[in-house]
Symmetry: C2
Subunit: 99 residues, 2 copies
DNA sequence: ACTATACATTGATGATTGTCAATATGATGT
DNA sequence: ACATCATATTGACAATCATCAATGTATAGT
């Protein structure tokens, strides 16, 4: 995953409401109305945020009847997490990774 | 670390230039002019980005003579990484974490 | 004192963002 | 057909952002 993609994911996570949505989805799929009940925003605002989360690939949605089932996209999240884990601070002080 | 703090860090990482700065600092402390040489932005813009990275606690700076030595703040980065790692997708499919 | 270097600040500009009210779409049940 | 529920879209607004040119402020070397 390249730097631009990572920055897009970080932008999607840069809003507390969207972070809360991610946390709620941690417990499994949820529809929009369930998310809405647990948050302090209006329905259009939620729709806006879901679009942002889908746009960077973190969340997928499947329409089932009236409802949209949102879920965390495990692969995308793992790729993001791997990138974050790959950042190691001040290697210089630990033996060095660069010449 | 609470959700608001995490979102501030993500906002700081939501710009490709700032992500590049973080990567450059991975190899150890660097001064502003070194960073500037490796990037495609002007000096005021770099100064602006460094302020953003310091503002969320990801980067620390120490003035030594003419130079500012920037370094990744290991503790803050670790706390952020721990939060990201704590997010696990769709526990429902793995035994469930919620009732 | 003078010059050069490293960095910060200011001011301006165009772009993006988060939010909501209003409205539209689309599916379900009666 | 009609009413209801879930969600999307539009339009508007204030706020924030990324960027740069110009300028200011130190510090170091001569």
């Amino acid at each position: 995953m390249d730097t631009n993609q990572i920055s897009l994911i970080c932008k999607a996570l840069s809003d507390p409401n969207r972070l809360q949505i991610i946390q709620l989805l941690t417990c499994g799929d949820q529809c929009g109305c369930d998310l809405l009940e647990r948050m302090q925003i209006t329905q259009p605002t939620l729709s806006h945020h879901m679009k942002a989360l889908e746009g960077c690939g973190l969340v997928s949605s499947v329409k089932k009847g009236k409802w949209n089932h949102y879920s965390l996209n495990r692969d995308q999240w793992t790729a993001f997490r791997d990138y974050i884990e790959s950042i190691r601070a001040a290697c210089k002080e630990e033996g060095g990774c660069c010449s």
